[in-house]
């Protein structure tokens, strides 16, 4: 990870600003000969899309992805895969009045302090628009992991504000536009979000994710640990404030006899480890949980300063999600997919394709 690049053997470099002509990415190191299904990429982009529900940002983007390179006659060639999406619904005029202002909770001040200047239109580079490219690249990684290892990655909305949903995986997630693990709570959540939008405020969210089918042995000791790189992947998503693997912060109050996952009848009896021991996958489901802060762009005014240090009252009138955590679900999945695929390649680079030890624990 560095600057705008993610991964080591499989790398994704993204570029583009919220209100530039296009947003794009370059995926390098992808294995050759893999069939690319543009519709599968579009389907993932649609899951992430703004405007999909009245509860997410009303910016309406077609998100038509264009495959510029690296695919020939429908298959990856092993050379860089460049993807481009046009920005068609950017309304820069919405941003003219905040161009000199420091929006609380935003990267305005920090970009100024780092770079001396910033593209203020729609948040420029710090906009969540960048995450379209994570989702597009992640769609390829998901497909590769599924085809080669039968790996399935699913995220869901585990909490929104004070509404706590199922913490465990359920099959219902993709039946509803809000990634709820149980449709029973859908109406309740919609009422909650409607009230929130009306109030002009926003709220945080917790997203859980699970990868099933990951073979034992992926990851690297000490600094290239699988959990360390998952943590970085998740924390690199806009608005993330926390990451847990397995039992996460609940481990703090656990006893050792309770936390350690004992093995009986050839199988782990629990999964507090979240499928990772010593930084290396154990073959159990990989489970993580990610905290998203509430959207900072609010029409409710906040005291702040402008770039000259004058006190100002900031009001944001662009189109913004009252809960960014909802749309984050496919982004969390994508980042997990990219991390796992990078480690799949790194593992076979160092250790080869054949299993090196016969022991198997379910």
């Amino acid at each position: 990870m560095s600057h705008n690049r993610f991964g080591k053997l499989l790398t994704v470099t993204t570029f583009g600003e919220s209100h530039g002509s296009e947003i794009g990415c370059v995926i390098d190191g992808f294995p050759p000969g893999f069939p690319v299904d543009r519709e599968a990429i579009m389907a993932e982009l649609h899951r992430r899309a703004t405007g999909r529900s009245r509860h997410t940002s009303q910016r309406r983007e077609a998100d038509e992805v264009r495959i510029v390179s690296g695919v020939f006659e429908g298959k990856t060639t092993g050379t860089p895969i460049a993807l481009l999406i046009e920005n068609t619904d950017a309304r820069s005029r919405d941003y003219a009045k905040i161009k000199d202002q420091v929006r609380p909770g935003h990267a305005d001040y920090t970009y100024w302090k780092k770079y001396g200047l910033r593209d203020y239109r729609g948040g420029g580079r710090s906009s969540a628009r960048e995450t379209t490219m994570r989702v597009a690249a992640g769609a390829l990684a998901k497909a590769w992991l599924a085809a080669n290892f039968d790996i399935c990655i699913t995220g869901w909305l585990a909490q929104v504000g004070e509404l706590v949903f199922d913490q465990e995986f359920s099959g219902e997630v993709n039946n509803n536009a809000l990634f709820l693990p149980s449709e029973d709570r859908l109406a309740e959540l919609e009422r909650y979000l409607d009230a929130l939008r009306k109030s002009g405020d926003s709220v945080g969210a917790r997203v859980n994710v699970r990868a099933s089918g990951v073979p034992a042995g992926w990851g690297e000791p000490v600094y290239g640990k699988l959990d360390a790189e998952i943590a970085a992947a998740m924390m690199s998503i806009n608005a993330t404030k926390g990451v847990e693997i397995g039992a996460g912060f609940a481990s703090v109050a656990q006893k050792g006899t309770q936390h350690r996952d004992v093995i009986e009848n050839g199988a782990f009896q629990s999964n507090h480890a979240g499928g990772i021991l010593g930084g290396i996958s154990s073959g159990q489901d990989i489970t993580a949980s990610v905290a998203f802060k509430p959207t900072s762009s609010l029409r409710l005014p906040a005291p702040s300063v402008d770039q000259f240090g004058n006190a100002v009252e900031v009001v944001t009138t662009g189109r913004h999600d009252p809960c960014v955590g909802i749309r984050a679900v496919p982004i969390v999945e994508a980042m997990l997919a990219l991390t796992l695929m990078d480690h799949a390649l790194r593992h076979r680079g160092q250790c080869g394709e054949q299993p090196l030890h016969p022991l198997h624990i379910d």
Copy 2:
């Protein structure tokens, strides 16, 4: 981060097993001409040392660090600084009987599945002994950050099992061997740990850390974010299961109006962001919190398998901390120091040493 290397411009590569002759590291990219105080390294190692309190592992290591290279006439030369510590108190016989066993909660199975073989003595490479090198390298980073930016990094024990201590920074941390933010609770914690040790069980912990004095502008957008790299740094420490920045998981239930840190009288009025916005430091204190799982090495038996798949009962008789989170405090500080120093160098590489924007918010 990759394999056994941490950092990008300032890199630390560690090597060595728990029961090998030595454990060591190579620090590359350190700025030249900086005075190296071996005693300061020893002091940090002493803070981390096993055997410092009856509540931590009874392995007694002198931890005498030897500076092999990169320092000439007391100053860094800009070339690789290699540090070595001899392992003097390794008792490999303690491990003979578990050499074929999968210890629940340990990396035994995952190392076998990745590599086909493992050095079972004391956990080999997956031992917490490796963290001496993080602390040694971190001592140099701390000194450099203090000398150049007046940055001060302090960690403390915020929770052990169900005992919750102060979550905010306090000056009392280094007055006691258990890194408690308030000495009032020391006797209580000692009683708790005594009972725990007697029971043969272990418990998790939460460690909080704060860096004050970090200038605004460190970090990189999108994937090289400062918080993403702090998350990776923390999650790379043995036994970590969760990382929070600023408000962390509490953000999930926060409203936007509550979370966003407004600016009045030229100063931020709160710090839910934990000093990082858009992946770049804001000049506020950087705050993080890390969850450690309970020690997995227990003398209380657990069902498991051996490497042939036979059911076994695992009992660990080595010398182990009942709460690894205590000794983790200086390690957490070290990882934060290394991450910050790497970003300090990366920032001046791209953006130079002069401030690029005059606005200042306290």
Copy 3:
């Protein structure tokens, strides 16, 4: 350097095939606030352009560069600069008949063996069309080096086949389309190339390059040496077969007393070192020389095989330069510029902006 990425702090990732819709690059880590002159990029692209002279490939590309991101109100923002150029004059039909053939001297066989498949149209990823992006990115690096350090980088044609031109720098290089250091030889070279084209054959070339104004102190010891990275940069250009720094292979027959550059009157008395000692710049001109093999695409038939192992006679009828080395001049300059700028940033990252030692040798 890795896959399709060049550099460490300043990275350039290129993508695109010869006959894809576009060819592009992402420049990451560029310092913020630097004015971008699109015309300067176009001017460098024009120097490299096919079709500029009757002696280079007759493919006619407008090479209109589009700045997609990373520039705001005419200045770099510090975020990724993406550049795109449309491929407008690709004639894929020229390649249909060689799609199953192994063209001698080309990457056809090796791409098949690595990837199992290849985009045969115009050489796909292995086409020299990729070098437009080196030149475009290099134009930014040149401008930055000139503005910040008054560094001037000039390449010239030092030899074509048996025609040997001036080996030393001369100011006349940019007065002629063939980068000859002396215009006197222009007519002779044109006659030579005309005869060559008529014969259907091609020839190799030597390109020399010089960077003046590079401060002493850039480079890194042992593996990140400035000369090592210049060598890699040059050898990564299509058709390169050799690289020399300073005296290069002439050093083999030199005596030590002759090679070492002695210092009198506060100045180096010669520059056999080529401006680099111990991998670090000395402040003298950096000089390098690069060997280019003759174009492999020839209309003169060659025996070879097809992908099924059948013997075939290969004839290439696309539009190809009889001497690829001519157009390589601006590419060589660009690669030197990118290498130097990356090292400029790396140096100030580790060592800061202030000189650390007062001694100065001219």
Copy 4:
């Protein structure tokens, strides 16, 4: 490559100064389960050793390598392999009088300008003593390449000063201490070197190297090219001034019809490419040639300056080879082995272990 680290998936980080207590390296990413033969490492070190012949430096080092980590019960564990060699014959007093001087042809001035200070004893970090670690790490890579692919890497002395030896591989190389391809010339070379030593002067050398058995398909397009990384590897060796692949600079005067390696009867009919096309191995022998400058440390005085800018006469009285190129032969082999092994792992990481295309050309 960066600072003091070489490689991407298989990385070697070296540390230590000429006159420090030890010199060492950390090899990370080595495949697990590979038997390590310390004697094979010692044998390679012996080939490189100073004092092996009266024609090389009279510094006498035992070069006893100590394997500190990463090997368990005789096999690699997949974790970092640290190697250490004590410096036993360093005579720092030899260097006291040149501690303030700029030795022409040395890195003294450039280290000062970069770092502000330098360890002057024996050249500190810029000493050729560092190359012991390249040879030690290279011995492991050679063994792995031989065991897994039957790859054989041999270097030889192709030229010393004006004495030109065989440019093609011959089996006699290892029968003599000076790596001559033909023993016939041994006496002549010894007389030449004796005269040289007597005169106090030194001379350059050309080393050729060949790797046979490399499968087709290793390498990466555009920037991670196999030849680009070989060039960097070679140019990172002390005293290197030039690198050629295959026909090298001779390509400049070649015609395309002459250079391109045609295929008849299922086999390449020549190898001007040096076994690499488009940055990827073709299955032919990989051939390279490296130019070494004459030793700069001479007892013949040279005019120079001291660190205060005063004119001085520099005389070097340490023990130095009159031709560093001789001992460079095993170093060149080692660097080629490390580059190839890194690419072997990178290739199977991206493309897997199975051949992806059936065509085979001998």
